[in-house]
Amino acid sequence: MSKPRVATVWLDGCSGCHMSLVDLDERLLDIFGRADLVYGPLVDVKEFPEDVDVCLVEGSVSSEDDLERIFKVRERTKVLVAFGDCAVTSNVPGMRNPIGVQPLLECAYIENADINKGIPDRIIPRLLPTSQPINRFVDVDVFLPGCPPHADLIYTLLDDLLAGRTPEVAGARFGR
């Protein structure tokens, strides 16, 4: 039997949840001795693959690109984990929601810019009107709150999922 296929995705977040994943340290050898890491910021694969068993999604859905990706991830993943507060609640990226996209971009790229004032209209994906947690768009199987979730919790979660158990991540909470 082939090893379970694990992927990680980085949407609108600070990468702190991925840093916390890396904080598993030597336990990474245990986890990825039992599973294959098939996609993510830590892997040089361009296209999100088919038949992913477990996918950790960091970050909220903020842009058109994020939206396209989260649908693709859901379609190709058995167990989708909302990984950290941004994915779970929209957290810091969601702080822009009361402001609105246009005033936000003007503030960032015109009012507070010293050179090359102007809102970018190429290459960078267009922002959605609001930044939303991933469960506003797709079904989520497991929620792991935390900013970031502690490495011990990530280990417990992956250990449970790889062993086919329903994850029991006591101690996960907003903030911290």
């Binding site: 009361p98 939303q132 903030g175």
Partner: protein
């Protein structure tokens, strides 16, 4: 002499004086009922709906903090149904304003965050409202961030009932409801505020905070000073 009533809470035989609330009797007997607007020493107002309990023979849930005990009452304070109600109330409190625990002055010193933890609220099914509400940092020592306010009105009650200043009150209605200082003028210009800081001390979240403290350094735990002040006031006939 007041009349003593006997009743049960979660199957336990307890007793209290007539006029006492279910919440008070539960507290005296070490039975924990969650609550965000309730704070010993302040009059209760039944705002947050987290202390809802079931009373045998009544089809409705009752807020334990504003329901008086009665002889032979059978109260259920913990059940799956009540947990569901409390989780729903917690979720709606979170979504009504812009609570971002990770960057809040009260991170890990917040009664709302602790409650979510306790009730195992790990996410929200309802959409956020994301209202554009402001911060008033005009006071020399303190600030109010309406993004974190849950309208428990502990500040209003502490200011009125304990300090006697009544600087804080409430304006507007429904989703537009806000706490205000002196008919909506900036806090820093308030002629009635004594800068005592009691409002900041009783705030369960990071809505009211001391200026100049780094994120997460504040300690907002349940403080025992209010009942003490209340007894002290009464003894001196104030």
């Amino acid at each position: 002499m007041s009349t003593v009533h006997t009743l049960t809470i979660d199957g336990r035989d307890v007793a209290g004086n007539e006029g006492q609330t279910i919440m008070e009797v539960a507290e005296e007997n070490g039975i924990d009922i969650p609550g965000l607007c309730h704070l010993p020493g302040l009059h209760d107002r039944g705002a947050c709906r987290l202390c809802v309990v079931e009373i045998e023979g009544s089809p409705k849930l009752a807020a334990a903090c504003v329901t008086q005990i009665a002889e032979g009452m059978h109260v259920t304070a913990h059940s799956e149904k009540l947990e569901d109600h409390r989780r729903a109330a917690t979720e709606m409190i979170f979504l009504e304003r812009n609570h971002v625990c990770s960057v809040c002055v009260a991170n890990n010193h917040c009664e709302l965050q602790d409650l979510a933890d306790e009730l195992r609220v790990t996410h929200f099914d309802l959409p956020r409202i994301s209202p554009a509400v402001g911060i008033d940092a005009s006071h020399r020592l303190f600030a109010i961030d309406h993004n974190r306010c849950i309208l428990c009105l502990r500040c209003v009650r502490a200011c009125d009932e304990i300090e006697g200043a009544h600087t804080w009150d409430v304006m507007h209605r429904g989703l537009e409801t806000r706490v205000q200082t002196d008919m909506g003028i900036p806090w820093g210009e308030s002629p009635t505020c004594t800068s005592c800081g009691k409002c900041v001390q009783v705030c369960p979240t990071g809505a009211l905070f001391e200026k100049g403290r780094p994120v997460a350094s504040g300690s907002k735990t349940k403080r025992p000073f209010l009942p003490w002040l209340r007894v002290h006031q009464e003894e001196r006939g104030l």
